[in-house]
Amino acid sequence: MSDGMHPAIVSGQPSQSDENNPDAPLFEGEYKDRFDKILSRYPDKRAALLPVLSMAQELRGWLSPETIGRVAELLDLTSAYARSVASFYTMYQLHPVGKYLIQVCTGIGCDLCGAEGVVEGLLEATKTRIGETSEDGKYTIVEVECLGGCGFPAMVQVNDKIYENVQAKDVEGLLKELD
Protein backbone atom coordinates (compact mmCIF):
# COMPACT_ATOMS: atom_id res chain seq x y z
CA MET A 1 0.00 0.00 0.00
CA SER A 2 1.23 3.46 -0.87
CA ASP A 3 1.66 6.22 1.67
CA GLY A 4 -1.30 8.14 2.99
CA MET A 5 -4.90 7.06 3.05
CA HIS A 6 -6.01 3.91 1.29
CA PRO A 7 -7.64 4.81 -2.03
CA ALA A 8 -10.82 2.93 -1.02
CA ILE A 9 -11.62 5.44 1.70
CA VAL A 10 -10.32 8.78 0.48
CA SER A 11 -13.66 10.49 -0.07
CA GLY A 12 -14.01 13.76 1.75
CA GLN A 13 -16.54 14.08 4.55
CA PRO A 14 -19.27 16.59 3.72
CA SER A 15 -18.83 18.24 7.11
CA GLN A 16 -16.33 20.86 8.13
CA SER A 17 -13.45 19.78 10.29
CA ASP A 18 -12.83 21.78 13.46
CA GLU A 19 -9.60 23.11 11.92
CA ASN A 20 -11.15 24.26 8.66
CA ASN A 21 -9.59 27.20 6.88
CA PRO A 22 -11.56 29.08 4.20
CA ASP A 23 -8.31 29.96 2.39
CA ALA A 24 -6.81 26.48 2.29
CA PRO A 25 -5.50 25.63 -1.19
CA LEU A 26 -7.38 23.18 -3.42
CA PHE A 27 -5.54 20.86 -3.27
CA GLU A 28 -2.04 20.40 -1.90
CA GLY A 29 -0.06 17.83 0.05
CA GLU A 30 -2.14 15.01 1.50
CA TYR A 31 -5.26 16.51 -0.06
CA LYS A 32 -3.70 16.45 -3.53
CA ASP A 33 -2.80 12.82 -2.87
CA ARG A 34 -6.40 12.09 -1.86
CA PHE A 35 -7.70 13.94 -4.91
CA ASP A 36 -5.62 11.77 -7.23
CA LYS A 37 -6.70 8.63 -5.41
CA ILE A 38 -10.37 9.60 -5.64
CA LEU A 39 -10.05 9.87 -9.41
CA SER A 40 -8.52 6.39 -9.54
CA ARG A 41 -11.68 4.82 -8.07
CA TYR A 42 -14.17 5.81 -10.77
CA PRO A 43 -14.43 5.25 -14.50
CA ASP A 44 -14.97 8.96 -15.11
CA LYS A 45 -14.12 12.30 -13.55
CA ARG A 46 -17.71 13.38 -12.98
CA ALA A 47 -18.16 10.66 -10.36
CA ALA A 48 -15.48 12.29 -8.25
CA LEU A 49 -17.63 15.40 -7.82
CA LEU A 50 -19.24 14.51 -4.48
CA PRO A 51 -16.10 13.11 -2.85
CA VAL A 52 -14.11 16.15 -4.00
CA LEU A 53 -16.73 18.76 -3.03
CA SER A 54 -16.88 17.04 0.34
CA MET A 55 -13.14 17.22 0.69
CA ALA A 56 -13.20 20.92 -0.19
CA GLN A 57 -15.80 21.54 2.50
CA GLU A 58 -13.92 19.46 5.04
CA LEU A 59 -10.94 21.69 4.32
CA ARG A 60 -12.53 25.11 3.84
CA GLY A 61 -15.67 24.85 5.99
CA TRP A 62 -18.06 25.88 3.24
CA LEU A 63 -18.37 25.87 -0.53
CA SER A 64 -17.94 29.38 -1.88
CA PRO A 65 -18.65 30.02 -5.58
CA GLU A 66 -14.89 30.20 -6.03
CA THR A 67 -14.45 26.79 -4.39
CA ILE A 68 -17.17 25.25 -6.51
CA GLY A 69 -15.70 26.79 -9.64
CA ARG A 70 -12.26 25.45 -8.82
CA VAL A 71 -13.60 21.92 -8.19
CA ALA A 72 -15.52 22.06 -11.46
CA GLU A 73 -12.38 23.09 -13.29
CA LEU A 74 -10.39 20.25 -11.75
CA LEU A 75 -13.02 17.76 -12.92
CA ASP A 76 -13.66 19.22 -16.39
CA LEU A 77 -17.24 20.16 -15.52
CA THR A 78 -18.98 23.48 -15.99
CA SER A 79 -19.19 25.51 -12.82
CA ALA A 80 -22.97 25.80 -13.29
CA TYR A 81 -23.16 22.02 -13.25
CA ALA A 82 -21.07 21.75 -10.10
CA ARG A 83 -23.17 24.43 -8.43
CA SER A 84 -26.34 22.58 -9.39
CA VAL A 85 -25.08 19.37 -7.82
CA ALA A 86 -23.73 21.13 -4.74
CA SER A 87 -27.06 22.88 -4.19
CA PHE A 88 -28.94 19.59 -4.37
CA TYR A 89 -27.25 18.12 -1.30
CA THR A 90 -28.11 19.75 2.00
CA MET A 91 -24.85 18.99 3.78
CA TYR A 92 -23.04 21.34 1.44
CA GLN A 93 -22.88 24.77 3.03
CA LEU A 94 -23.18 27.38 0.31
CA HIS A 95 -22.82 30.17 2.83
CA PRO A 96 -20.25 30.56 5.60
CA VAL A 97 -21.18 29.01 8.94
CA GLY A 98 -19.83 29.33 12.46
CA LYS A 99 -16.84 27.46 13.83
CA TYR A 100 -19.30 24.90 15.08
CA LEU A 101 -22.17 23.96 12.83
CA ILE A 102 -24.69 22.41 15.19
CA GLN A 103 -27.30 20.37 13.36
CA VAL A 104 -30.25 19.17 15.38
CA CYS A 105 -32.38 16.42 13.92
CA THR A 106 -36.04 17.40 14.06
CA GLY A 107 -37.27 14.46 11.99
CA ILE A 108 -40.26 12.54 13.25
CA GLY A 109 -38.31 10.20 15.56
CA CYS A 110 -36.46 13.00 17.34
CA ASP A 111 -39.45 15.34 17.17
CA LEU A 112 -41.55 12.87 19.16
CA CYS A 113 -38.82 12.81 21.79
CA GLY A 114 -37.99 16.40 22.57
CA ALA A 115 -35.88 17.71 19.68
CA GLU A 116 -37.78 20.99 19.72
CA GLY A 117 -36.59 21.64 23.28
CA VAL A 118 -32.99 20.99 22.24
CA VAL A 119 -33.24 23.52 19.43
CA GLU A 120 -34.80 26.11 21.71
CA GLY A 121 -32.16 25.48 24.36
CA LEU A 122 -29.33 25.89 21.85
CA LEU A 123 -30.76 29.07 20.36
CA GLU A 124 -31.21 30.57 23.77
CA ALA A 125 -27.74 29.64 24.95
CA THR A 126 -26.05 30.94 21.81
CA LYS A 127 -28.37 33.95 21.38
CA THR A 128 -28.98 33.17 17.73
CA ARG A 129 -31.83 32.39 15.43
CA ILE A 130 -32.08 29.33 13.19
CA GLY A 131 -29.41 29.44 10.49
CA GLU A 132 -27.71 32.54 11.87
CA THR A 133 -24.18 32.56 13.15
CA SER A 134 -23.61 33.82 16.69
CA GLU A 135 -21.91 37.18 17.10
CA ASP A 136 -18.63 35.62 18.17
CA GLY A 137 -18.67 33.53 14.98
CA LYS A 138 -18.69 30.33 16.96
CA TYR A 139 -22.09 28.74 16.49
CA THR A 140 -24.58 28.18 13.73
CA ILE A 141 -27.66 26.20 14.77
CA VAL A 142 -29.74 24.50 12.10
CA GLU A 143 -32.57 22.00 12.07
CA VAL A 144 -31.98 19.02 9.81
CA GLU A 145 -34.15 16.20 8.59
CA CYS A 146 -33.52 12.75 10.03
CA LEU A 147 -29.89 12.01 10.88
CA GLY A 148 -30.70 8.30 10.87
CA GLY A 149 -30.55 7.61 14.58
CA CYS A 150 -34.26 7.77 15.48
CA GLY A 151 -33.78 5.34 18.36
CA PHE A 152 -31.33 7.68 20.05
CA PRO A 153 -33.24 10.94 20.14
CA ALA A 154 -32.42 13.65 19.76
CA MET A 155 -29.55 13.26 17.35
CA VAL A 156 -27.19 16.21 17.13
CA GLN A 157 -24.29 16.62 14.76
CA VAL A 158 -21.55 19.16 15.51
CA ASN A 159 -19.15 19.55 12.58
CA ASP A 160 -18.03 15.95 12.00
CA LYS A 161 -19.11 14.56 15.37
CA ILE A 162 -22.36 12.87 16.35
CA TYR A 163 -24.08 13.21 19.71
CA GLU A 164 -26.84 10.75 20.61
CA ASN A 165 -29.68 11.00 23.13
CA VAL A 166 -29.41 14.75 23.53
CA GLN A 167 -32.16 16.39 25.56
CA ALA A 168 -32.76 20.04 26.48
CA LYS A 169 -31.00 19.53 29.80
CA ASP A 170 -27.84 18.42 27.97
CA VAL A 171 -27.43 21.61 25.95
CA GLU A 172 -25.28 23.41 28.47
CA GLY A 173 -22.88 20.51 28.80
CA LEU A 174 -22.67 20.08 25.04
CA LEU A 175 -21.70 23.68 24.45
CA LYS A 176 -19.16 23.52 27.28
CA GLU A 177 -17.57 20.50 25.69
CA LEU A 178 -17.07 22.44 22.49
CA ASP A 179 -15.34 25.34 24.21
Binding site: P7, L112, G148, K161
Partner: protein, 429 residues
Protein backbone atom coordinates in the same frame (compact mmCIF):
# COMPACT_ATOMS: atom_id res chain seq x y z
CA UNK B 1 -29.82 -1.20 19.29
CA UNK B 2 -30.48 -4.59 20.79
CA UNK B 3 -27.96 -3.25 23.25
CA UNK B 4 -28.32 -2.44 25.98
CA UNK B 5 -31.81 -3.84 25.64
CA UNK B 6 -31.05 -7.25 24.15
CA UNK B 7 -34.15 -9.32 24.65
CA UNK B 8 -34.21 -13.08 25.12
CA UNK B 9 -36.98 -13.46 22.58
CA UNK B 10 -34.83 -12.03 19.79
CA UNK B 11 -33.20 -14.29 17.22
CA UNK B 12 -29.90 -12.55 16.74
CA UNK B 13 -28.29 -13.54 13.48
CA UNK B 14 -27.17 -10.20 12.09
CA UNK B 15 -27.20 -8.37 15.40
CA UNK B 16 -25.49 -11.03 17.50
CA UNK B 17 -22.44 -8.84 18.11
CA UNK B 18 -24.12 -5.46 18.38
CA UNK B 19 -22.58 -3.75 21.39
CA UNK B 20 -19.51 -5.97 21.34
CA UNK B 21 -16.62 -3.58 20.69
CA UNK B 22 -14.23 -6.42 20.02
CA UNK B 23 -16.28 -7.59 17.05
CA UNK B 24 -15.56 -4.39 15.12
CA UNK B 25 -11.95 -5.15 14.19
CA UNK B 26 -11.04 -7.86 11.75
CA UNK B 27 -9.27 -10.12 14.26
CA UNK B 28 -12.19 -10.04 16.63
CA UNK B 29 -14.52 -10.64 13.75
CA UNK B 30 -12.58 -13.65 12.49
CA UNK B 31 -12.46 -15.02 16.03
CA UNK B 32 -16.23 -14.85 16.05
CA UNK B 33 -16.47 -16.88 12.90
CA UNK B 34 -16.25 -14.06 10.37
CA UNK B 35 -15.18 -14.59 6.76
CA UNK B 36 -15.65 -18.36 7.01
CA UNK B 37 -18.50 -18.36 4.50
CA UNK B 38 -16.13 -17.14 1.79
CA UNK B 39 -14.28 -20.43 1.40
CA UNK B 40 -17.41 -22.33 0.53
CA UNK B 41 -18.52 -19.55 -1.75
CA UNK B 42 -15.38 -19.61 -3.88
CA UNK B 43 -15.79 -23.37 -4.29
CA UNK B 44 -19.13 -22.74 -5.92
CA UNK B 45 -19.77 -21.15 -9.29
CA UNK B 46 -21.35 -17.68 -9.22
CA UNK B 47 -24.62 -19.16 -10.48
CA UNK B 48 -24.63 -21.72 -7.70
CA UNK B 49 -24.26 -18.91 -5.18
CA UNK B 50 -27.19 -17.09 -6.73
CA UNK B 51 -29.18 -20.32 -6.55
CA UNK B 52 -28.60 -20.65 -2.79
CA UNK B 53 -29.67 -17.04 -2.19
CA UNK B 54 -32.72 -17.61 -4.37
CA UNK B 55 -33.65 -20.71 -2.40
CA UNK B 56 -33.25 -18.88 0.89
CA UNK B 57 -36.01 -16.52 -0.19
CA UNK B 58 -34.06 -13.52 1.16
CA UNK B 59 -35.94 -10.36 0.26
CA UNK B 60 -34.44 -6.91 -0.10
CA UNK B 61 -34.47 -5.12 3.24
CA UNK B 62 -34.39 -1.60 1.87
CA UNK B 63 -38.15 -1.33 1.69
CA UNK B 64 -39.38 -2.87 -1.52
CA UNK B 65 -38.81 -6.49 -0.49
CA UNK B 66 -37.68 -7.67 -3.92
CA UNK B 67 -36.16 -11.19 -3.83
CA UNK B 68 -32.38 -10.70 -3.68
CA UNK B 69 -31.37 -13.87 -5.56
CA UNK B 70 -33.73 -13.06 -8.40
CA UNK B 71 -32.29 -9.55 -8.64
CA UNK B 72 -28.78 -10.98 -8.86
CA UNK B 73 -29.84 -13.39 -11.59
CA UNK B 74 -30.76 -10.45 -13.87
CA UNK B 75 -27.10 -9.49 -14.17
CA UNK B 76 -25.43 -10.36 -17.48
CA UNK B 77 -23.03 -13.28 -17.30
CA UNK B 78 -21.03 -12.71 -20.48
CA UNK B 79 -18.59 -10.24 -18.98
CA UNK B 80 -18.47 -7.97 -22.04
CA UNK B 81 -18.91 -4.96 -19.82
CA UNK B 82 -17.94 -4.44 -16.19
CA UNK B 83 -20.65 -5.27 -13.67
CA UNK B 84 -20.98 -3.24 -10.51
CA UNK B 85 -22.40 -3.71 -7.05
CA UNK B 86 -23.71 -0.66 -5.27
CA UNK B 87 -24.41 -1.26 -1.61
CA UNK B 88 -27.17 1.06 -0.50
CA UNK B 89 -26.07 2.39 2.87
CA UNK B 90 -27.98 5.63 2.45
CA UNK B 91 -30.41 4.67 5.18
CA UNK B 92 -32.69 7.69 5.43
CA UNK B 93 -36.28 6.57 5.84
CA UNK B 94 -37.40 8.33 9.02
CA UNK B 95 -37.73 5.75 11.76
CA UNK B 96 -35.06 3.45 10.32
CA UNK B 97 -31.59 3.08 11.83
CA UNK B 98 -30.65 -0.58 11.45
CA UNK B 99 -28.04 -0.33 8.70
CA UNK B 100 -26.24 2.28 10.75
CA UNK B 101 -25.87 -0.22 13.61
CA UNK B 102 -24.85 -3.08 11.31
CA UNK B 103 -22.01 -0.98 9.94
CA UNK B 104 -21.12 0.52 13.27
CA UNK B 105 -20.75 -2.76 15.13
CA UNK B 106 -20.15 -5.37 12.45
CA UNK B 107 -18.65 -3.69 9.39
CA UNK B 108 -16.92 -6.89 8.31
CA UNK B 109 -20.26 -8.68 8.23
CA UNK B 110 -21.27 -6.25 5.49
CA UNK B 111 -17.94 -6.47 3.68
CA UNK B 112 -18.19 -10.27 3.56
CA UNK B 113 -21.69 -9.99 2.14
CA UNK B 114 -20.41 -7.56 -0.46
CA UNK B 115 -17.61 -9.91 -1.49
CA UNK B 116 -20.05 -12.80 -1.90
CA UNK B 117 -22.58 -10.77 -3.84
CA UNK B 118 -19.88 -9.31 -6.10
CA UNK B 119 -18.59 -12.80 -6.81
CA UNK B 120 -22.09 -14.00 -7.66
CA UNK B 121 -22.92 -11.10 -9.95
CA UNK B 122 -19.41 -11.03 -11.48
CA UNK B 123 -18.60 -7.54 -10.28
CA UNK B 124 -15.03 -6.48 -9.82
CA UNK B 125 -15.78 -3.14 -8.23
CA UNK B 126 -18.29 -2.49 -5.49
CA UNK B 127 -19.27 0.84 -3.99
CA UNK B 128 -20.76 1.42 -0.58
CA UNK B 129 -22.92 4.51 -0.96
CA UNK B 130 -23.19 5.70 2.62
CA UNK B 131 -24.99 8.70 4.05
CA UNK B 132 -22.72 11.66 4.61
CA UNK B 133 -24.44 12.17 7.96
CA UNK B 134 -23.08 8.86 9.27
CA UNK B 135 -19.80 10.53 10.20
CA UNK B 136 -18.84 8.17 13.00
CA UNK B 137 -20.07 5.09 11.17
CA UNK B 138 -17.98 6.07 8.15
CA UNK B 139 -14.85 6.07 10.31
CA UNK B 140 -15.61 2.54 11.50
CA UNK B 141 -16.42 1.32 8.02
CA UNK B 142 -13.34 2.96 6.52
CA UNK B 143 -11.17 1.22 9.09
CA UNK B 144 -12.73 -2.12 8.30
CA UNK B 145 -12.32 -1.70 4.54
CA UNK B 146 -8.62 -0.94 4.93
CA UNK B 147 -8.25 -3.98 7.20
CA UNK B 148 -9.98 -6.16 4.66
CA UNK B 149 -7.60 -4.95 1.95
CA UNK B 150 -4.60 -5.53 4.19
CA UNK B 151 -5.71 -9.04 5.02
CA UNK B 152 -6.42 -10.04 1.46
CA UNK B 153 -10.23 -10.05 1.62
CA UNK B 154 -10.34 -7.23 -0.88
CA UNK B 155 -8.08 -6.47 -3.82
CA UNK B 156 -6.56 -9.02 -6.15
CA UNK B 157 -6.89 -12.78 -5.89
CA UNK B 158 -8.96 -12.73 -2.71
CA UNK B 159 -7.84 -15.54 -0.37
CA UNK B 160 -6.23 -17.30 -3.31
CA UNK B 161 -9.53 -17.68 -5.10
CA UNK B 162 -8.53 -15.84 -8.24
CA UNK B 163 -11.43 -13.43 -7.64
CA UNK B 164 -10.59 -9.72 -7.66
CA UNK B 165 -12.68 -7.07 -6.02
CA UNK B 166 -12.18 -3.41 -5.28
CA UNK B 167 -14.43 -1.73 -2.77
CA UNK B 168 -14.85 2.02 -2.49
CA UNK B 169 -16.63 3.89 0.26
CA UNK B 170 -18.60 6.70 -1.38
CA UNK B 171 -20.19 9.34 0.82
CA UNK B 172 -23.50 11.03 0.13
CA UNK B 173 -23.96 14.63 1.15
CA UNK B 174 -27.51 14.99 2.40
CA UNK B 175 -30.27 13.77 0.13
CA UNK B 176 -32.91 11.26 1.17
CA UNK B 177 -33.70 10.49 -2.43
CA UNK B 178 -30.19 9.12 -2.96
CA UNK B 179 -31.56 6.10 -1.11
CA UNK B 180 -33.82 5.32 -4.07
CA UNK B 181 -31.75 2.94 -6.14
CA UNK B 182 -31.61 4.95 -9.36
CA UNK B 183 -31.20 8.21 -7.43
CA UNK B 184 -28.28 6.50 -5.75
CA UNK B 185 -26.76 5.60 -9.11
CA UNK B 186 -27.03 9.19 -10.33
CA UNK B 187 -25.48 10.43 -7.13
CA UNK B 188 -22.67 7.90 -7.40
CA UNK B 189 -22.00 9.22 -10.89
CA UNK B 190 -21.62 12.77 -9.57
CA UNK B 191 -25.08 13.97 -10.51
CA UNK B 192 -28.10 15.28 -8.68
CA UNK B 193 -29.69 12.26 -7.00
CA UNK B 194 -32.73 12.39 -9.25
CA UNK B 195 -34.36 8.99 -9.78
CA UNK B 196 -34.25 7.58 -13.30
CA UNK B 197 -37.05 6.27 -15.41
CA UNK B 198 -37.23 2.48 -15.40
CA UNK B 199 -36.73 0.68 -17.72
CA UNK B 200 -33.85 0.43 -18.24
CA UNK B 201 -33.38 -1.31 -14.90
CA UNK B 202 -30.04 -1.09 -13.11
CA UNK B 203 -29.21 -4.68 -14.04
CA UNK B 204 -29.25 -3.57 -17.69
CA UNK B 205 -27.93 -0.03 -17.33
CA UNK B 206 -26.88 1.03 -13.88
CA UNK B 207 -23.82 2.83 -12.59
CA UNK B 208 -21.83 4.44 -15.40
CA UNK B 209 -24.21 2.81 -17.88
CA UNK B 210 -23.08 -0.66 -16.82
CA UNK B 211 -25.06 -3.54 -15.33
CA UNK B 212 -25.41 -2.90 -11.62
CA UNK B 213 -27.03 -4.56 -8.64
CA UNK B 214 -28.15 -2.29 -5.85
CA UNK B 215 -28.66 -3.99 -2.49
CA UNK B 216 -29.40 -2.72 0.98
CA UNK B 217 -26.88 -3.17 3.83
CA UNK B 218 -29.10 -5.52 5.80
CA UNK B 219 -29.73 -7.68 2.73
CA UNK B 220 -26.02 -8.08 2.06
CA UNK B 221 -25.22 -8.62 5.74
CA UNK B 222 -27.58 -11.62 5.78
CA UNK B 223 -25.81 -13.26 2.84
CA UNK B 224 -22.72 -14.69 4.64
CA UNK B 225 -25.01 -16.43 7.14
CA UNK B 226 -27.12 -17.92 4.38
CA UNK B 227 -24.07 -19.12 2.47
CA UNK B 228 -22.49 -20.60 5.55
CA UNK B 229 -25.57 -22.35 6.89
CA UNK B 230 -27.67 -22.95 3.81
CA UNK B 231 -31.03 -21.85 2.51
CA UNK B 232 -33.00 -24.32 4.63
CA UNK B 233 -31.36 -23.06 7.79
CA UNK B 234 -32.45 -19.52 6.89
CA UNK B 235 -35.94 -20.70 6.12
CA UNK B 236 -36.40 -22.14 9.64
CA UNK B 237 -37.61 -18.63 10.48
CA UNK B 238 -40.44 -16.69 9.01
CA UNK B 239 -42.88 -17.82 6.37
CA UNK B 240 -42.72 -19.14 2.82
CA UNK B 241 -43.03 -15.62 1.42
CA UNK B 242 -41.07 -13.88 4.16
CA UNK B 243 -38.33 -16.17 5.36
CA UNK B 244 -35.56 -15.34 7.80
CA UNK B 245 -35.00 -12.78 10.49
CA UNK B 246 -35.22 -9.03 10.22
CA UNK B 247 -34.01 -6.08 12.17
CA UNK B 248 -36.73 -3.73 13.36
CA UNK B 249 -35.70 -0.23 14.28
CA UNK B 250 -38.08 0.89 16.99
CA UNK B 251 -38.36 4.52 17.97
CA UNK B 252 -40.76 7.10 19.28
CA UNK B 253 -42.71 6.67 22.46
CA UNK B 254 -41.32 3.37 23.72
CA UNK B 255 -39.75 2.28 26.99
CA UNK B 256 -36.89 0.55 25.21
CA UNK B 257 -36.30 1.95 21.74
CA UNK B 258 -33.63 0.31 19.60
CA UNK B 259 -33.04 -2.39 17.02
CA UNK B 260 -34.58 -5.79 17.59
CA UNK B 261 -33.96 -8.80 15.41
CA UNK B 262 -36.83 -11.26 15.22
CA UNK B 263 -38.07 -13.90 12.84
CA UNK B 264 -40.33 -12.26 10.30
CA UNK B 265 -43.40 -14.10 11.59
CA UNK B 266 -42.98 -12.55 15.03
CA UNK B 267 -46.04 -10.79 16.44
CA UNK B 268 -45.98 -7.06 15.77
CA UNK B 269 -47.91 -6.40 18.92
CA UNK B 270 -45.45 -8.37 21.04
CA UNK B 271 -42.54 -6.63 19.40
CA UNK B 272 -43.98 -3.33 20.54
CA UNK B 273 -45.32 -4.25 23.94
CA UNK B 274 -42.92 -6.98 25.03
CA UNK B 275 -39.55 -6.33 23.41
CA UNK B 276 -39.82 -2.55 23.34
CA UNK B 277 -41.70 -2.46 26.61
CA UNK B 278 -44.67 -0.53 25.23
CA UNK B 279 -45.23 3.19 25.77
CA UNK B 280 -43.67 5.14 28.62
CA UNK B 281 -45.18 4.79 32.08
CA UNK B 282 -48.67 6.25 32.34
CA UNK B 283 -49.13 6.60 28.60
CA UNK B 284 -51.33 4.81 26.11
CA UNK B 285 -50.12 3.87 22.66
CA UNK B 286 -52.19 5.64 20.04
CA UNK B 287 -50.69 4.91 16.66
CA UNK B 288 -47.94 2.89 15.06
CA UNK B 289 -46.05 3.21 11.83
CA UNK B 290 -44.47 -0.17 11.11
CA UNK B 291 -42.15 0.40 8.15
CA UNK B 292 -40.70 3.87 8.07
CA UNK B 293 -42.66 7.08 7.72
CA UNK B 294 -43.80 6.29 4.19
CA UNK B 295 -46.19 3.47 5.10
CA UNK B 296 -49.77 3.84 6.32
CA UNK B 297 -50.24 4.68 9.96
CA UNK B 298 -51.88 1.91 12.04
CA UNK B 299 -54.23 2.20 14.98
CA UNK B 300 -53.78 0.01 18.04
CA UNK B 301 -56.49 -2.43 17.01
CA UNK B 302 -54.78 -3.05 13.68
CA UNK B 303 -51.43 -4.22 14.98
CA UNK B 304 -52.46 -7.71 15.96
CA UNK B 305 -50.57 -9.28 13.06
CA UNK B 306 -47.22 -10.85 12.35
CA UNK B 307 -44.29 -8.88 11.00
CA UNK B 308 -44.12 -10.53 7.58
CA UNK B 309 -44.42 -8.54 4.37
CA UNK B 310 -47.79 -10.20 3.76
CA UNK B 311 -48.97 -10.02 7.38
CA UNK B 312 -48.52 -6.28 7.72
CA UNK B 313 -49.96 -5.71 4.28
CA UNK B 314 -53.09 -7.64 5.24
CA UNK B 315 -53.36 -5.45 8.34
CA UNK B 316 -53.40 -2.35 6.15
CA UNK B 317 -49.82 -1.13 6.06
CA UNK B 318 -46.39 -2.25 4.83
CA UNK B 319 -43.26 -3.75 6.33
CA UNK B 320 -41.18 -1.28 4.32
CA UNK B 321 -37.76 -0.82 5.83
CA UNK B 322 -38.80 -2.11 9.24
CA UNK B 323 -38.62 1.30 10.88
CA UNK B 324 -41.25 1.24 13.58
CA UNK B 325 -42.45 4.58 14.95
CA UNK B 326 -44.62 4.44 18.07
CA UNK B 327 -46.82 7.36 19.09
CA UNK B 328 -48.52 7.56 22.45
CA UNK B 329 -51.53 9.58 23.47
CA UNK B 330 -49.47 12.72 23.95
CA UNK B 331 -48.92 12.87 20.22
CA UNK B 332 -50.77 15.35 18.08
CA UNK B 333 -51.40 13.38 14.90
CA UNK B 334 -51.74 16.51 12.80
CA UNK B 335 -48.36 17.68 14.03
CA UNK B 336 -46.72 14.30 13.52
CA UNK B 337 -48.09 13.97 9.99
CA UNK B 338 -47.05 17.54 9.24
CA UNK B 339 -43.50 16.72 10.33
CA UNK B 340 -43.43 13.66 8.10
CA UNK B 341 -44.83 15.52 5.10
CA UNK B 342 -42.39 18.38 5.62
CA UNK B 343 -39.64 15.82 5.48
CA UNK B 344 -40.79 14.63 2.06
CA UNK B 345 -41.32 18.20 0.84
CA UNK B 346 -37.77 18.99 1.93
CA UNK B 347 -36.41 15.86 0.28
CA UNK B 348 -38.39 15.87 -2.98
CA UNK B 349 -35.86 16.10 -5.78
CA UNK B 350 -38.31 18.29 -7.66
CA UNK B 351 -38.21 16.54 -11.02
CA UNK B 352 -41.83 15.40 -11.19
CA UNK B 353 -44.53 18.04 -11.04
CA UNK B 354 -46.90 16.13 -8.77
CA UNK B 355 -44.27 15.48 -6.13
CA UNK B 356 -42.47 18.81 -6.25
CA UNK B 357 -45.64 20.85 -5.94
CA UNK B 358 -47.79 18.31 -4.09
CA UNK B 359 -45.47 17.66 -1.16
CA UNK B 360 -45.03 21.32 -0.35
CA UNK B 361 -48.71 22.05 -0.88
CA UNK B 362 -49.71 19.29 1.55
CA UNK B 363 -47.20 20.61 4.09
CA UNK B 364 -48.61 24.12 3.85
CA UNK B 365 -52.19 22.95 4.32
CA UNK B 366 -51.20 20.82 7.32
CA UNK B 367 -49.27 23.70 8.88
CA UNK B 368 -52.35 25.88 8.56
CA UNK B 369 -54.61 23.26 10.12
CA UNK B 370 -52.15 22.66 12.95
CA UNK B 371 -52.06 26.33 13.89
CA UNK B 372 -55.87 26.45 13.98
CA UNK B 373 -56.65 28.06 10.62
CA UNK B 374 -58.04 24.96 8.98
CA UNK B 375 -61.27 24.81 7.00
CA UNK B 376 -63.77 21.97 6.71
CA UNK B 377 -62.98 21.67 3.02
CA UNK B 378 -59.31 21.08 3.76
CA UNK B 379 -59.82 17.40 4.54
CA UNK B 380 -61.36 16.45 1.20
CA UNK B 381 -58.76 18.70 -0.42
CA UNK B 382 -55.90 16.90 1.34
CA UNK B 383 -57.35 13.55 0.29
CA UNK B 384 -57.75 14.60 -3.32
CA UNK B 385 -54.32 16.22 -3.57
CA UNK B 386 -52.94 13.07 -1.99
CA UNK B 387 -54.68 10.86 -4.52
CA UNK B 388 -53.22 12.98 -7.33
CA UNK B 389 -49.75 12.22 -5.98
CA UNK B 390 -50.04 8.45 -5.87
CA UNK B 391 -48.75 6.39 -8.79
CA UNK B 392 -48.08 9.44 -10.96
CA UNK B 393 -44.35 10.00 -10.60
CA UNK B 394 -41.01 8.43 -11.52
CA UNK B 395 -40.22 7.25 -8.00
CA UNK B 396 -42.39 6.54 -4.94
CA UNK B 397 -41.41 9.58 -2.85
CA UNK B 398 -44.59 11.32 -3.91
CA UNK B 399 -46.66 8.36 -2.76
CA UNK B 400 -44.70 8.30 0.49
CA UNK B 401 -45.76 11.84 1.31
CA UNK B 402 -49.39 11.21 0.46
CA UNK B 403 -49.67 7.98 2.43
CA UNK B 404 -49.39 9.35 5.99
CA UNK B 405 -51.81 12.16 5.11
CA UNK B 406 -54.45 9.91 3.63
CA UNK B 407 -54.16 7.14 6.22
CA UNK B 408 -54.16 9.55 9.16
CA UNK B 409 -57.24 11.38 7.93
CA UNK B 410 -58.99 8.05 7.51
CA UNK B 411 -58.03 6.88 10.98
CA UNK B 412 -57.77 10.05 13.05
CA UNK B 413 -60.26 12.36 11.40
CA UNK B 414 -61.54 13.54 14.78
CA UNK B 415 -58.13 15.01 15.63
CA UNK B 416 -58.09 16.97 12.40
CA UNK B 417 -61.65 18.15 13.01
CA UNK B 418 -60.80 19.30 16.51
CA UNK B 419 -58.05 21.48 15.08
CA UNK B 420 -60.32 22.78 12.36
CA UNK B 421 -63.47 23.38 14.40
CA UNK B 422 -62.11 24.33 17.81
CA UNK B 423 -58.54 25.28 17.02
CA UNK B 424 -57.55 22.80 19.68
CA UNK B 425 -55.56 19.62 19.96
CA UNK B 426 -57.05 16.51 21.57
CA UNK B 427 -53.66 15.01 22.37
CA UNK B 428 -53.13 14.38 26.07
CA UNK B 429 -50.06 16.53 26.50
Amino acid sequence: MAYPYAHPREVRVLSKYFGDKDAIGIDGWIERGGYTALKGVFEKSPDEVIEVVKESGLRGRGGAGFPAGLKWSFMPKDGDRPNYLACNADESEPGTFKDREIMRWTPHQLIEGIIICSYAIRASHAYIYIRGEFVDVVRVLNGAVVEAYERGYLGENIQGSGFNLDLTVHLGAGAYIAGEETGLLNSLEGRRAEPRIKPPFPAQQGAFGMPTTVNNVETLAAVPHIMENGADWYRQWGTEKSPGTKLFSCCGHLQRPGNYEVPLDFSLKELVFDLCGGPPEGRQLKALIPGGSSVPIMTLDEIDCDCTYEGIEAAGSFLGSGGLIAMDDSTCIVHAVRKMVEFYAHESCGQCTNCREGTSWLAKILRRIERGDGREEDLPLLLDVGSNMVGKTICPLSDSAAVPVVSSIQKFEDEYLAHIRDGSCTAAR
